[in-house]
Symmetry: C2
Subunit: 297 residues, 2 copies
Amino acid sequence: MAAQSLKEALAETGEVIDRSFAALLTVPDDPRAPLYEAMRHAAIGGGKRLRPLLVLATADLFNVDRQAAVRVASAIEAIHVYSLIHDDLPAMDDDDVRRGKPTVHRAYGEATAILAGDCLHAFAFEWLAHPDTHPDPFVRAELVLDLARAAGPSGMAGGQAMDLAAEESGFDLAMVTRLQQMKTGALISASVEAGAILGRVPPEGRLGLRGYAHDLGLAFQIVDDLLDAEGDEATVGKKLRKDGAAGKETFLSLLGPDRARAQSAMLVDQAVRHLHAYGSEADLLRGIARFVLERDR
Amino acid sequence: MAAQSLKEALAETGEVIDRSFAALLTVPDDPRAPLYEAMRHAAIGGGKRLRPLLVLATADLFNVDRQAAVRVASAIEAIHVYSLIHDDLPAMDDDDVRRGKPTVHRAYGEATAILAGDCLHAFAFEWLAHPDTHPDPFVRAELVLDLARAAGPSGMAGGQAMDLAAEESGFDLAMVTRLQQMKTGALISASVEAGAILGRVPPEGRLGLRGYAHDLGLAFQIVDDLLDAEGDEATVGKKLRKDGAAGKETFLSLLGPDRARAQSAMLVDQAVRHLHAYGSEADLLRGIARFVLERDR
């Protein structure tokens, strides 16, 4: 995959992950059919597939078996999709549109949306722990441990809880940075880490990749703030201008648009520099970093 | 633990699991404090702790290290507690009282309740996959795989989805049995299975224990239906008489009280017979089966 253009890699990853979800989420012929249809509605067809692409691009660095990498990429994307389903619920962000389609609770009702999120959450760990993912149980257990930490209260879900609190208390730049590192950064880091775990890179050999993922995650979130303020709802595929309306501090409100843009560009440069130990085989990871900066959705 | 009376074992398990959750769910000094308090509200102090007791009693059969068994028991109970939090939500069963206390969404709001459930869900897999649980990654990966299957769409959450469908379509006895085997049976079976996995019992050596857990799970649910119809709300600690109000078929509505009682007694006898290969060291498991029949909450 390393020789592809980024545009091709994104398109191919989208197709690969759609096929993978279609196979993993076969609708049963029983009363659980709406539950599975709700999972498919949220998981198939849409999204940038940034996290799966990061898994696949990192796994390619270490010549990881493609099928194993796609399974792990699907598990991490399942966690991302479950979090979108739950974040969109009326009690949370109360969103009607996601990826240009009705949100799951709009299309299937709230109870099924809660359960569809819960099922994707459990599926992610079932897929990772299954021997099909990797013959070595040490690799499987490490994948589970790392993803569970990234998804839980020290990661994504904890960041979402911080976000709820942010509406009441004015967060400063340090707190907004910590919130975003948890809410979006943790899963982006877990994607790169999973590629390295599959590649059997020992923890001390992952420092460059960790630095890359850390800076990429922050840059991604700053661009997200800019898109929220300046983007086009039809292109982005979800409701925008919510942060300002909720009175929440963001990178944009704290830095202003010019410094936010400069900061995201600096972070992307820094992310790319963390890959100095790798040659052209890491060009796709470098391309992803630039894409994060230039994306319009 | 095998020589204890059942009453002592239940009380001791309650204390052990409360202490374990208190240590695993330390409230951080940051904006996530309400999230952790919500998890502690739901997880600590209350509940029969049937699933943890099954893990500990089965693990004792095979002289499993006590700390490892308590960690695994806490992980399985965390899944049970997360499911109660989500099932109680307004969009699901809309319950105000659980274990004699306000439900999590009543005490902490709906958004925090959704996230507290999600965090306990992720924590369960983090705890299982951590090297502290067992030095052998094969054991850890098997524990994760088995619990994820029991929690997901083929188990507990799938059973809850069947339950939503049951309000509209009249289920027959075969469908009600399947629903309940998924909704409550899967996690009861996973508890016994986890004890055997920790004890390194090969799958072909687990058949008796699996038969025991299967019959126990069904007996448990039939008694639950009887308690729902005949129990005392203050003793049971939650709202009762809901199944009849929702027009749902249950073991009780399909069998009537006399046949339901006879069926649960027959299943408990059968569960105990599955333990024939074990001597007095399985007396606690036998006692649990009788407790399931005689419980009043």
